[in-house]
């Protein structure tokens, strides 16, 4: 617990790989379980809880894994390699922070689920929770990065690069890993049938249709 607590205190040592992964698995898993409980516990609905408890940590870990190689090379090419251990600790700490904040917000989601059965509103509430966690984690990341930026201003550009890259991958991965909440009208599944597609193309499609366009970009 002390190691998990340290993740949120960047100035006092900060995160290590082990505790950060534990935080992602436990915190992300905890929030995922609550997130997947929208359909209740009856019958096979419990499966959705298990799936979502696996998928939230998977979302955080896979996004980090996909974006880390480019982050490493960008750090190296910009001549910031000597600070790599600190930079790595910073992004891992931010992952841990997302998960811990999500876990701390899970009770609110549970109360919302108990109060409203509207699936679309549940989606919005969960989106809001992820937004709060993302903003909090970004704040933690900035704290981790403060000494690095003070030493070399180029670290700020790399940190922003990381945030852009991370968001770009995470949005698409979140889309592919649907459903997280689980529409009660549909049976629980790990991957939604036909869910694979491109989040950005879908958003562009929706915006286009909203302005009266008729073209769809399924392909």
């Amino acid at each position: 617990m002390r190691a998990l607590d340290a993740i949120l205190r960047p100035t006092a040592g900060g995160a290590r790989l082990g505790p950060a992964v534990v935080a992602v698995v436990l915190g992300g898993g905890g929030y995922g379980a609550v997130m997947g409980s929208f359909g209740g516990l009856a019958g096979d609905r419990g499966l959705q809880i298990v799936f979502s408890a696996v998928k939230v940590p998977l979302l955080l870990l896979l996004t980090t894994g996909l974006a880390l190689p480019s982050f490493f090379v960008l750090n190296t090419v910009l001549g910031l390699r000597r600070d790599w251990p600190t930079a790595l600790r910073a992004v891992l700490g931010a992952q841990g922070a997302v998960a811990i904040v999500l876990a701390a917000l899970a009770p609110y989601t549970a109360v919302w689920y108990a109060s409203s059965g509207n699936y679309h509103r549940a989606t919005t509430v969960n989106g809001g929770m992820f937004l709060i966690a993302a903003v909090a984690a970004q704040w933690v990341l900035r704290q981790y990065y403060a000494p690095l930026v003070a030493a070399d201003r180029r670290h700020r550009a790399v940190m922003r690069g990381w945030l852009i890259l991370y968001a770009f991958v995470a949005i698409q991965l979140g889309w592919v890993l649907r459903p997280f909440i689980g529409d009660p009208a549909l049976p629980p599944t790990f991957f939604r049938a036909g869910a694979w597609g491109n989040a950005y193309v879908v958003v562009a499609d929706i915006v286009w249709k909203a302005f009266g366009g008729t073209v769809t970009w399924s392909r």
Binding site: P69, S70, V73, T76, G79, L173, R219
Partner: protein, 238 residues
């Protein structure tokens, strides 16, 4: 492993021409360049795995061959004129120095490219929209190109640095060097142009799901028309 150590040194900006004892080894760097470019080629070809008519493995093989070929052929096409104009107009660098400049910048380019490989592969696997994948790849290539050119610029600045006679590795007149590197800066632009068109000649790298697999497509159009077409398709105007 030695090749990767050399690459690491280049990426960290430690391989400098003027420093005594630091020599940029061409062979190992070239090998690692080919390997990294091939890796990205495989990541591009991953898109072929989700074709409607079943997975097309040959697209990954084609990518692994074509991406290294793209860089080497572009270098081959632009190098003679660069060298000749360099000799005519300055900065009159020697052939060996030139080759090392090119391969060092290419190392940075392919390293950045291959580092984005996992992201490209992930989007290729999960995206059906061909135009999106094309533009994503163009963006990754452009980003890698910017870093490659940035490295080349740093090396040139290093070359132009006035140095003591005993550490003189390249014969250069420092006072005139800034202006005379104009030839190399012009070459960077030509390299990007030729590289773009070479990628069009060697297409398909990704493989349109609407067309059957082919190692090469017939002669038609240009890279810039292709990118414009993809952008139009994505914006619904194609």
């Amino acid at each position: 492993m030695q090749a990767f150590r050399e690459l690491d040194r280049v990426l960290r900006g430690e391989a400098r021409f003027g420093d005594l004892g630091v020599v940029i080894p061409l062979g190992p760097l070239l090998r690692v360049n080919v390997l990294l470019a091939a890796t990205y080629g495989v990541c591009m070809g991953v898109y072929g795995l989700l074709w409607p008519d079943g997975p097309e493995w040959r697209q990954m093989v084609a990518g692994a061959v074509k991406v290294p070929a793209l860089f080497l052929l572009t270098l081959l096409v632009t190098f003679p004129s660069l060298y000749v104009f360099n000799t005519l107009l300055g900065p009159r660098l020697q052939l060996g120095v030139f080759l090392r400049l090119g391969v060092t910048a290419l190392s940075v380019l392919t390293a950045v490219l291959s580092a984005f490989g996992p992201i490209t592969a992930f989007f290729s696997v999960t995206t059906a929209n061909y135009a999106f994948v094309v533009l994503l790849n163009v963006a990754v290539f452009a980003l890698a190109g910017v870093f490659g050119l940035g490295c080349l610029r740093n090396l040139l600045v290093e070359l132009a640095r006035p140095r003591a006679a005993d550490e003189d590795f390249v014969v250069l007149e420092p006072a005139k060097s800034g202006r005379k590197f104009g030839v190399i800066y012009a070459w960077m632009f030509v390299f990007a142009l030729v590289g773009g068109q070479m990628s069009w000649l060697l297409r398909p790298f990704i493989g349109s799901p609407d067309l059957p697999f082919a190692w090469l497509r017939p002669r038609d159009g240009s890279f810039f028309e292709g990118v414009l077409h993809a952008a139009k398709l994505l914006l619904g105007a194609g």
